[in-house]
Symmetry: D2
Subunit: 338 residues, 4 copies
């Protein structure tokens, strides 16, 4: 059993606390928050766990194996660096840091101290995304041609970040998790409809080698909530509708086939269309955070990077930065190298 401390009792902290409490791999020993009222209110349900207003207490406790950081993003780098420097494994909420520069330092620091650095890309631990990853890795879809996501609703307008940092960050984390390739070109277009200058509707496009393209439509001003992703493969295709609990993932045995001779004469394309069964596989209903905290324990036990490690979080952050840059430049396509 590993000893964990949670820093931050705000919006997401209580979910982490509940899951660490229930996890057989973890012993929750400390919870820290600068706001004493909030801290006490959250912790009445967990009388056996130590509370503190001082982060230093946790740093000084050598029995603490790992720390989960669920504080505002502006504090991530400072808090995580100190934990890492004390040899503690760290789990951080996304985005991992405010800038890619900070992220890179943190990743290097964790390597130097030989501790695991994990980012809570929650969606990657859902049954739906794990099932989709299975299909992609098995080769059943064939070559991946495109990834198209629509993530729109009448959303909570954020006062500090635009819709890309609020919603597209999920898609970026998922795409990073599902595919081993990295985008070579990024662009983003969007508009702000309120007096704030924060975009509330945006389109982000990632272009990869081999004609793979990913596009995300994110929107806080949609009359209907949509969470629908299409993944096109050369052999099969996936429709992931996260709002249909009974069948979130559907595999279509459907596509086109170019016959051998056609390939020679481009001018006379002769394409045949295949249409087969549709399968909605049974999806594991385990709460994503439960799977996530288990992975955090396992990567430490096995001394290997977690599925969503600091490097993954850094890649997501880098793309966010480039997308933001493109948005500011009116949608210019910006090249990325990895």
């Amino acid at each position: 059993m590993l000893n964990i401390a949670v820093i931050g009792c705000g919006y997401w902290g209580p979910n982490l606390i509940r899951n660490f409490m229930q996890a057989p791999d973890w012993q929750l020993v400390w919870v820290c928050d600068a706001d004493e009222i909030k801290l006490n209110s959250v912790m009445t349900a967990y009388p056996g766990v130590k509370k503190t207003l001082r982060f230093q207490e946790i740093l000084d406790d050598k029995s603490v194996d790992a720390v989960a950081v669920a504080t505002p993003v502006s504090t991530h780098y400072e808090l995580a660096s100190q934990c890492v420097s004390k040899g503690k494994h760290v789990l951080i909420e996304k985005p991992i840091c405010q800038t890619a520069e900070q992220g890179e330092k943190l990743v290097r620091l964790a390597e130097q101290h030989a501790v695991q650095l994990m980012c809570d890309h929650t969606f990657c631990y859902t049954g739906a995304v794990r099932k989709i990853k299975e299909y992609i890795e098995s080769g059943e879809l064939g070559q991946i041609l495109y990834y198209d996501s629509v993530r729109v609703n009448l959303g909570l307008f954020q006062s500090d970040v635009n819709v890309i940092w609020d919603l597209a960050v999920h898609d970026l984390a998922i795409v990073d998790f599902l595919f081993s390739c990295r985008p070579s070109r990024v662009s983003a277009r969007g508009v702000a409809h309120t007096d704030s200058s924060l975009e509330n509707i945006a389109y982000v496009t990632l272009e990869y080698e081999n004609s793979f393209i990913a596009n995300f439509h994110v929107n806080w001003l949609s009359p209907v909530k949509i969470r629908k992703t299409l993944i096109g493969g050369s052999r099969k295709m996936i429709e992931w509708n996260d709002l249909v609990p009974a069948e979130k993932v559907r595999i279509y045995d459907k596509g086109i086939t170019l016959s051998a001779e056609d390939k020679k004469q481009k001018s006379k394309l002769l394409i045949s269309y295949r249409s087969g069964d549709i399968l909605a596989p049974c999806i594991d209903q385990t709460e994503a955070l439960t799977v996530m905290v288990k992975e955090f324990a396992q990567c430490i036990h096995e001394n290997r990077p977690p599925l969503t490690d600091g490097k993954a979080a850094l890649r997501v952050l880098k793309i966010l930065e480039v997308a933001q840059q493109s948005l500011v430049c009116g949608g210019s396509t910006i090249s990325m190298s990895w």
Copy 2:
């Protein structure tokens, strides 16, 4: 009653022929096609209509008031120019010409000869689009914020045009019809997944003044057919799902409201969310082509431009050309002036 001649018996011609035959405003007098077998096959059902292989016969017939051109696009300019020069009104299938340059000449020629030049933007004559136009023009939606269309399916790969010219052309025609403003910036990104160099998936973005943005996702490689458009207004919003016959158009009395004091202090946005009734208005089921041929007659009788006139078709063509240019340049945003 006006006398009409139809040129071209291919894919679309028979639909025009059937509708002109049924229209009380029109007398179908001639049908012309260079392919005698096809011409005879189509016209057995209409023994009272004259057939010809020679376009010149129609040009020479002074009783012909108007000509409908449903031939391959490469012949549009030549055929339409001759008709116009003979003082005949002309209806042309879309796209109106191969190039904007041709289109401009044709529009000018029609003005010189004082004949009506109409383009068959069929979607603009559907009950759904006409109903949406009513809502927009009544001001019930408030200020229009965005237009987002998804037009995807496992499509017929075309051998001569890419997915933008095949599918996005519909969206461009609809947007031109619905809104009086014109895009100031256009961009397009897409990829080709077959050996042909024709893009089969693309994203086209139009940016307007006043933060109005329109985006079209067109795709020939989707496992599911989707024809869904969201139109966001500051007061109400529309969802148009063309695949749900019983309720294609839905009006959401839903949106956000910024309270007066908030407008002053951007830093503390206080947005309230409204959620009211949803209305699916009864949509006129008349076939779009029936409405279109009636409009063609009426604009001639009333000596006014048709709803989808040559200028509208030319605007669509210009945007197509610029989108194509952006696509070739890897998604650059290109400014347009009108």
Copy 3:
């Protein structure tokens, strides 16, 4: 403010406790359960409320204005009778008693003691059912022709009651609430597929004067969950799909019209079909139990029967008994008089 005591901390009791705690009209003073462990576990969250294992303590407390009975149905009659006899208003979970005979005695007793007797027909206090009642009472639907409900899912097989007592009881309570007329004939057919002799699929039909018919399909063995009700009126019709949160109730301006002359000559029916707008009105999202406990307070203050009073509960119970009798007799239609 009225003082309330809740008897029973099992499945439903905690929901009542939570709602009475939050209600401005009520002061929760006592909670009673024979199981001390369960009682303590539920009540840790409410340290200010008195707990007891002895029901008599509540009976003896003259400050208690009303009692909510959420115990097993076999104890309802005994507990409620004693409360009523002490002059306390009573709210009972459904079904109100085990037999209609008990129910009748209880209703009479409440009248003698001039206290309000209310049954927790929760569905009647949902926003959806209240909205439907509005439409029916306004006359907008015209004459009501039929009520058809499908309430099926892969359900929890009950070990003591069949699917009619488990699921159709909801429909009976709703129909009693919506319509002032009473069924004159009842029938039920069903089968048991497990070794228990309890039916897990059943069809219940109520026939009324004036050709109004109501039918309920209840099923614990359906692969899909369905909660769909159609209500046909001579002017408009309603579709109530309880599983579509955003638009549970839809009003169709749709139906048939018999023209005047046709009415004379039955042989030549000339019916015309109307098809108008579809409206999904905004539905109040307040939790049904919150509305229910408020009604309980109001009926006491206003000294009037509650919307779902003992008599309503008794009517539901009588129909359940007759339906059960029909089921046993192989589906015979049984007449009822009121």
Copy 4:
């Protein structure tokens, strides 16, 4: 190649004519109708086929192998009997005759003359129903527990038959086709809402041995069109939604399992719920009538009864008669023996 004659050019006749014309197994030689105008109008498209107003001409033509009867039902028995007596195979539209008595005579006559007697139960030849039959016969569903069909819409009110004879007849034909067992008890309830005495909404229940139950809800006054059937098996279940072209049939690997020990003690039912994949198999899109006319040819070539033979049609007719009798008696359950 077999020679066929079609009698009747009304609503359905032209569909038969078109399909017999296209079928490689058949040579359409004669079409007969008493209405000369209708006959000529339909047959202009088929100049090579002989027309006649006199049925006798067909009877006398020894080259005619088979006759398809698509005339009003009141003439079925007389026309079919004469054809059979002349040794011609006969295909009849449903219902096969006006009364079961006639039907029985006709079946016997066909046996005596050793000709095939087939009824056009079109639905049984759709890809969806054939796929469902495959699943049932393979045993994959386990023991069949129930069949529940909803067939409702704002329907064409018929002036001569009620909704059972118009709509439930399809369900009866399908159920007869899918299952080898026959109902032992039948009941029906319904109401008439127009001045005609013909029921426009009805519920029909068939009860079989082994707790198999089938129920049909048919309704001409529904605001929405529904064509949905649930088939419950002990191992898997089917949802057939005929209005979703892309996935009409869905197989749910879902159900309940009684563990061995539970079976002994009914009082303590311990049921476990299984929830697995959902499969929407690819459905053959061939037009049902094309498959049907092929089966008619094959059963003659192979000298075996067709899939929907006279006996099947007679069973459907008998159940219709008993359902009608139950309807008249106010819903009494009526026993049937086979």
